[in-house]
C-alpha cells in the first residue's frame, strides 16, 4: 500500500475517536522525541557537562596532578587570596592578564584581517572569469591543511637561518640580516596572526561568497543602468544585504579565535609574548601540574566566552525583532 492510499482512507470526517487518535499521536510523537534525544543528551552530558562541572569545582580546590585524590576545597584562593598583606591568585597574576590581552589582541586583529581579506577574495570569486573553478579549489587548500601541519610548514618557511622568507626578503633587499620571526618578541605575535589569517581566510571567503551568491541579480542590473559607481554599489547595496551572514561568520570566527591553542603552541611553544588564555591554562594544568589553579584559569576563559556568546545572542535577538517590524 502506498502512503497516498492510506491518506485517502483516513480522510473521514473528524469524529471524537479521530480527535483522541490525534492527541494520542501527538503524545506518542513527543515520547519518540524524548527517546530520540536521550542517547545524544546522555553522551553530551557525560563528555561535556560533567567534565565542565568538575573543572569549575577543581578551580576551587588545591588539586595537583601528582595525586588528584587528595584535594581540598580552598574557596576562591586560586582566584584571589591575601597572605601577609600580599595578594595572590589569578586576578592579580600579571602572566594571566598578559595572556588575556594577547588573546584579545590576536582575536581582534586576526578576525578583522580575515574578514577584510575574505571579503576581497569572495568578491573576486563572485565574478565570472576563466579558471574560476580552479581558483576556488586553490583557495580551499589552506583550509584543508591541518592546523598543526600549517604551523609546522610556516615555522619552516619562517626559519631564521634556513627559511625561504628571510631568503626572499634579503634577496629583494627589504631586510639586511635574517629575522627570527617566531622567537623575536616584536614579530612573534605577527607571525601567529599571519599564519592564522592564511589558514582561515578561505573559510571566511567561502561563507561570504555563499551570502553573495544568494543576492538577487536585478539590483545590480538596475545600479548598472543608473550608472552608479561600483564602489558605491558595494557599500550601499552589497554590504547591507550580506550583513546578517557576515555578522554570524565573524561571531563564529571570534569565538574560535578566543580559544586558540594549537597554532600558538606549535609555532611559538610556551613563550610569554604570544601565550593565549588556553595555552596559559594548559601550562598550569599539565606542565606545572597545578590542576586547581589551571582549572580556575580555564573557568575564567569559559566565563569570558560564555559572556561574549550571551551578549551576541541577545544582540542577535534584538536585531531580529527590529528586522521584523
Amino acid at each position: 500500500m502506498t502512503p497516498t492510499d492510506a491518506a485517502v482512507h483516513k480522510t473521514a470526517p473528524p469524529t471524537r475517536a479521530a480527535r483522541t487518535e490525534r492527541s494520542d499521536l501527538t503524545s506518542s510523537r513527543l515520547r519518540a522525541a524524548f527517546l530520540f534525544l536521550l542517547p545524544m543528551m546522555t553522551v553530551l552530558g557525560v563528555v561535556a557537562g560533567w567534565p565542565l562541572v568538575r573543572t569549575i569545582w577543581l578551580g576551587f580546590t588545591d588539586a595537583n596532578l601528582v595525586d588528584l585524590s587528595v584535594t581540598e576545597f580552598i574557596g576562591i584562593e586560586n582566584y584571589y587570596a591575601v597572605y601577609d598583606g600580599e595578594a595572590f591568585g589569578l586576578l592579580v597574576d600579571p602572566e594571566w592578564w598578559n595572556a588575556v590581552w594577547n588573546t584579545l589582541w590576536f582575536s581582534v586583529i586576526s578576525v578583522s584581517l580575515e574578514t577584510a581579506l575574505g571579503m576581497a577574495v569572495a568578491l573576486v570569486l563572485n565574478l565570472q572569469f576563466k579558471g574560476r573553478g580552479l581558483v576556488r579549489a586553490a583557495v580551499l587548500v589552506p583550509w584543508a591543511i591541518p592546523t598543526i601541519v600549517s604551523a609546522k610548514m610556516w615555522s619552516w618557511m619562517l626559519h631564521d637561518q634556513l627559511g625561504i622568507i628571510n631568503e626572499l626578503l634579503m634577496g629583494v633587499g627589504l631586510i639586511a640580516e635574517p629575522i627570527a620571526w617566531t622567537a623575536n618578541p616584536d614579530t612573534a605575535m605577527w607571525a601567529v596572526i599571519m599564519v592564522d589569517v592564511w589558514k582561515t581566510t578561505p573559510f571566511m571567503a567561502l561563507l561570504i561568497l555563499a551570502g553573495l551568491q544568494m543576492l538577487p541579480g536585478d539590483i545590480y542590473e538596475a545600479a548598472k543602468v543608473d550608472g552608479v559607481h561600483p564602489v558605491k554599489v558595494f557599500f550601499k547595496v552589497t554590504l547591507p544585504l550580506i550583513r546578517p551572514a557576515l555578522v554570524v561568520a565573524v561571531v563564529f570566527r571570534a569565538l574560535d579565535a578566543l580559544r586558540i591553542f594549537d597554532l600558538i603552541y606549535v609555532l611559538t611553544s610556551n613563550s610569554t609574548t604570544t601565550m593565549s588564555m588556553s595555552v596559559y591554562a594548559r601550562q598550569q594544568l599539565v606542565d606545572f601540574q597545578e590542576v586547581g589553579y589551571g582549572s580556575a584559569a580555564a573557568t575564567l576563559l569559559f566565563l569570558v566566552i560564555a559572556l561574549i556568546t550571551t551578549l551576541t545572542l541577545m544582540a542577535g535577538k534584538v536585531n531580529l525583532s527590529e528586522d521584523s517590524k
Partner: protein, 275 residues
C-alpha cells in the same frame, strides 16, 4: 587599452591569491624530497627527488601506527556521532516540543566552548574509566567536538525537507523510528556524507586532547606525532621528516576536500550562516 590594463590587474590579483594559497604546501612538498645538506638550499624550485625522508618516518618512527590511530579514532567518533545525531536531529527538526529552541542553543554553545575548559574534568574522567593513554581515551573527548556539530548541521538539513514527506507516513501509522529509517535516511545520505566528512576532518585535526591524554608515541595521533617529532639533538629539528609526514597526512585530506568541495561549502554554511 584601459580595459586590458584593468583585466591585467585583475588577473594579477587572482594569481596572487592562488600563489599565496598554494605556495606553502608546494614548498612543503619540495622540502620533503630534500635531506641532509640539501635542506640548506632554500630554493623554491624542485631539485633532486629523494624519498629518504618518507622511508625514515615509517622506519625510524611509528608513523604508520600514528596514521592508523588517527583513522581509527576519527572513524569511530564519526560513526557514533552520526548514529546519535540522526535520531536527535529528527526530534529537533520535525517534532515541535517545549524548550526545543533552548536545547538547540545549548548544543550550539557546546560546540563553541573552549576545549581547555573541560581539560581537567576530562582528565579525571578518563583516568577513572581507566582509558588514559589509549585510543578509547581519545575517542571520548573527541565526541565533544563532533557530536554537537553533527546534530546542529543535520538538524538544519532536516528542517529543509518538505513536511508532506512524513505526513503520509504518520497517517499510515508508521512509528517515528520507521519514519526516520524509511523516509528520512534515504534522503539524508548526501547530508550524512558531508557532515561525516567535516566531522572526520575536525577529529583528524584535533590536537589539545590528543596531546594531553597520551604519553607514548604508539598511541599518538598524527598531529601530535608531527608536533613532537624531534631529531638527533634537541636543537636540530628534522625538517625533512616533518615535511614528509605533513605531506603524507595532508594530501588525502586536500584530495577529499577538493572532490567534495561543493558539498563541503554547503555543509559549512549550514553549520555557520544559518546559525
Amino acid at each position: 587599452m584601459k580595459l586590458s590594463l584593468k583585466s591585467l590587474l585583475f588577473y594579477g590579483l587572482v594569481l596572487a591569491i592562488v600563489v599565496v594559497s598554494v605556495f606553502p604546501f608546494y614548498y612543503a612538498i619540495i622540502t620533503s624530497f630534500r635531506s641532509g645538506t640539501e635542506l640548506f638550499n632554500p630554493s623554491a624550485l624542485p631539485g633532486v627527488i629523494d624519498f629518504g625522508n618518507y622511508l625514515s618516518i615509517f622506519k625510524e618512527q611509528p608513523f604508520g601506527t600514528n596514521i592508523f590511530n588517527s583513522i581509527f579514532v576519527a572513524t569511530v567518533v564519526v560513526i557514533i556521532s552520526l548514529v546519535l545525531a540522526v535520531t536527535a536531529a529528527y526530534a529537533l527538526a520535525r517534532i515541535p516540543f517545549r524548550g526545543r529552541g533552548l536545547l538547540l542553543m545549548t548544543i550550539l554553545s557546546v560546540s563553541m566552548f573552549p576545549q581547555v575548559a573541560i581539560l581537567s574534568g576530562m582528565f579525571e574522567l578518563i583516568k577513572a574509566m581507566g582509558i588514559y593513554n589509549s585510543l578509547p581515551g581519545l575517542i571520548v573527548p573527541n565526541m565533544v567536538l563532533t557530536l554537537p556539530f553533527t546534530v546542529w548541521v543535520l538538524t538544519t538539513f532536516m528542517k529543509e525537507l518538505p513536511k508532506e514527506l512524513e505526513e503520509a507516513a504518520i497517517v499510515d501509522g508508521a512509528s517515528s523510528l520507521v519514519i526516520v529509517r524509511r523516509v528520512f535516511l534515504p534522503l539524508m545520505w548526501p547530508a550524512l556524507v558531508t557532515t561525516g566528512l567535516l566531522a572526520f576532518i575536525s577529529a583528524w585535526n584535533e590536537f589539545l586532547f590528543a596531546l594531553t591524554f597520551t604519553l607514548s608515541n604508539e598511541v599518538r595521533t598524527v598531529p601530535v606525532a608531527i608536533a613532537l617529532m624531534s631529531g638527533a639533538s634537541k636543537y636540530e629539528l628534522p625538517w625533512g621528516n616533518i615535511m614528509a609526514a605533513s605531506v603524507v597526512v595532508t594530501v588525502p585530506i586536500v584530495v577529499l576536500v577538493l572532490i567534495f568541495q561543493r558539498k563541503i561549502v554547503a555543509g559549512l554554511t549550514a553549520g555557520a550562516v544559518k546559525g
